[in-house]
Symmetry: D2
Subunit: 306 residues, 4 copies
């Protein structure tokens, strides 16, 4: 059974993601994203599961930056995990008893409607994570009556669900990725995603347009683009991308090669099956067959066989 590092403590959404992405793995909780990735880099774990972006909060910039620098790691899978909050308490607690609640501030923000409607007058105290909040409630002599946490935290700390699905939006989702040390890539499935990081040459005006053109001209759709500072001053960025397709696809490979040629550096972060399993739509003239037919044609005409 392999070990996978994750963003702890035990009972986080990240651990819930890990259980789905790798049901047989042993989870190793780490205090932050950097520590989880470093555990994978140093071989203390076979890989790691970390959050990449959230549909409300946006990119997890710590993850973006940790993947962009340091020893390379490859994303080998992704998961879209609905963010479902629960009101967890010690067995026997009823809603009307709950006066003091503990949770992470972001969770409080996302459950504000429930708290105001169902727990008027309750005090909400900040914890360092939703899992830590559950741990606090479970502690002997805890001053807290309930925690707002993921379901998995209740299992760990022996709490019961006083209320379920208490977030104000039911459609919030976090995207988690599984990363591994460099090695064989997942096979193309026809519904893949590729992630990469590009440091543009000179960062001249129009560089971003050029970069997007490398993808557009080969019919490759970008699904995410994030700018991050290089650290060399305001106005100096590098870019995190996701595009549709697998680097083994001819059109994706040629686009990324083109990006590589016009960049100071490109870091490949992996090609892996899309969590939503939506098959890539292939623009006419850009299938692998089209590329290979064109390559054969080019070889012939280069030899003068027209």
């Amino acid at each position: 059974m392999s070990k996978l590092a994750y963003l702890g403590p035990q009972g986080t959404f990240c651990e819930a993601a890990l259980r789905i992405l790798a049901p047989d793995a042993e989870g190793v909780p780490c205090p932050n994203v950097g520590a989880a990735l470093d555990a994978a880099r140093r071989g203390e774990a076979g890989g790691a599961v970390v959050p990449l972006e959230n549909s409300v909060e946006g990119a997890i910039t710590q993850t973006l930056d940790e993947l962009a620098w340091g020893r390379p790691l490859l994303i080998t899978g992704e998961l879209l995990l609905p963010v479902e909050f629960y009101l967890l308490a010690r067995p026997g607690t009823e809603m009307r008893h709950i006066k003091r609640v503990i949770t992470h501030p972001a969770a409080h923000t996302q459950c504000r409607g429930f708290v105001e409607r169902e727990l008027p007058g309750a005090v909400v105290v900040a914890a360092s994570s939703t899992a830590a909040a559950a741990q606090e409630v479970a502690a002997p002599g805890s001053p807290y009556d309930a925690a707002i946490s993921p379901a998995i935290a209740g299992e760990y700390y022996g709490l019961v669900q006083v209320a379920a699905g208490i977030g104000d939006r039911s459609d919030t989702v976090t995207r988690f990725v599984k990363v591994s040390p460099p090695g064989e890539l997942p096979e193309p499935t026809g519904a893949d995603r590729t992630s990469l990081v590009a440091y543009l040459r000179n960062d001249h005006p129009g560089a971003l347009l050029e970069m997007l053109s490398e993808f557009a001209v080969r019919g490759v759709n970008l699904t995410r683009i994030e700018s991050r500072p290089t650290g060399d001053g305001i106005g100096r960025y590098f870019f995190h991308f996701d595009c549709e397709g697998h680097i083994a696809d001819a059109r994706v490979g040629e686009a990324i090669s083109g990006l590589h040629r016009l960049s100071d550096d490109v870091r490949f972060l992996g090609s892996y099956p899309r969590a939503d399993q939506v098959a890539t739509q292939i623009k006419p003239g850009t299938s692998d067959g089209d590329f290979s037919e064109a390559a054969g044609w080019l070889s012939r005409i280069r030899e003068g066989r027209v």
Copy 2:
């Protein structure tokens, strides 16, 4: 004397920025960026000064999101403030006495080299801000020997500088903006910047390329682009932009009009002098004179006077 809200408490880099951007204003510290902007929205202050991006940490996403939603506010000025850290202590403290340090974790990260080299063995404790750290050190009976804070915090809390410029990088900069309720825009200076937010229509593949083309075809350079989630699911973004020039410039106005036509919504966030005073380079054929000459020409030919 007008009031300006800022990200408090007293003694933050944000207050230092406010003193430069509006030396005569009375600062009103607020607990977070949202509160500062709301004070300006509700008229409790004449405006606000908030951080927009940092050359190491990147965009301050809370500011991006607060400006994108809610009652509109306009950016009327910007400042690039070097991030200079100081080791502050009560008068009489010497370096060798310092065993317990308090600061914000981000400041700790940025001064790690100094701490390891000059304060080996010292314990570093987390505070909610670098200004709050100074306040803690100044408190009677404080368990802390020193704070890592901006210089301005020392003034407030009666601390002295035991060491100056202790950040590991000397070139870190934060960009602050002054925002005001809607009203007359700053005059064009020839070295201006324009900020805006765009919600693309349908978010179709190629939409970002189309958006950049609206700027490129009118010779307008983008200097910053950030994607933020709309909240409607992974893969749904809106975009924060900065471009060179003033919306009063013909080429900028036409580009933003074009962006407006192809977007579900565009929010104008202001046109204001660039902090670095670099004059906008104008591509041939895109000056105000070129636009007005072309408009006259078009009018004539529309009347058949060719």
Copy 3:
């Protein structure tokens, strides 16, 4: 009754086009396209009808060049005339009598199949035009038995149709345009075409791509593009364009204004109803209403009313 100059002599396809484009006009035959346009320029005729392109032969370069230089004229209408050839002879002539045929070489080319099949052994002699060929056959003592000409030439010269529709392709078409001295433009109809000529600035690499981008970014489709030499050396071109829409349309006007700004010169050649009456498809965000709404929005935000 107004006079219109045309490419003579009497009995040409050009005269047939004129009769359809302006049934009430008096036709004035001219020896070449330049002479017909000059008649319109000098006011000897109220306008002219000339061929612009043919679906087999391509652009009529003499017309392109004559419209690009000299006193401006405006295209006010167009016609797509099927090129239908007839075998014309003096009354009483039968197919089996025909041994000597006269026609213009291009007409010979286009009827080669008929001649080889139906008139094996016949000699084909070159005339300066298909109408002149008919005139030759009609002359007393003519050495020719038949002419390959348009039907209209038979009417003029008292010849009968021995065979009809003898072209090898039944779908060949010539596009004729009616030009007039500058004056009020035809009203927009929703199914219009606009013609123009552009002399690019410096003719730098990428200039053509920039030019096309001016149209693409405003959703205007180009339907024809021809390069012509400026006369200043191999590799120096100017361009003849047709685009969909009327210059009174906001998107077309802005595109052409943009083209004007990046060109050394743009000559507007007219906006007029399309012969095929295909309504212009308007890309979302580029209707006149979209442009006017965006202009209002821009005015408001320029005044700070966001």
Copy 4:
């Protein structure tokens, strides 16, 4: 000694071009461009020399169309030949004797200033070519006093130069190409040109922009573009291109492959040294070395070696 077909009769500019392009070849005069190319196709000659474009008249459309259809031929060389006209007459003729001049109408147009100034009152009669005009003057009992022709025609027909360089413009140039049956391509020289023909798929709006983008994104400059009718109706075109570089260059090969993928058909017309010997400027990131480095990088990352 090899044979090369050319556009006759003897004494044309085309023969002058052939003598420079292939000094040792035996010239075979042909009545038109099609006949010259067919001689090369059928092996009656080892190749052909034909005019492709003229700096005043533009493209020689017959050549464009003859190269686009029929058995493929490859351009293996080009020449820019100044168009220098001479007034040629029988020995003993003086300027004041010249009352009747014969020449091709295009030559008459280009020498109109000289004729009006130096030969006022002279009659100018049309010949089928400038070489044929010289032949007419040399014929016993000729009714003509002089021909306007290239110098080479004088040599053939025993005429003397009464006046030299009599064109109104001194810089008119015709571009001739040498074509051969398919076979080994000329070696790349660093100052090459590539010619091709593309039939766009569906000819949809924006197809031309897409086609140009294939070149732009690989940093390949187009130096000539001509539209020609496919014959399938007004508005249906195919395109003749020249671009800088040799098809053996990685960037040119990839661009043309891309064009091939999005076209119904692409016909390669050859890669050959530029007559002006201007070395191709290579945009950063698009040299052969850059392409090969990128290909190696792509291979490594496809194997997960990041």
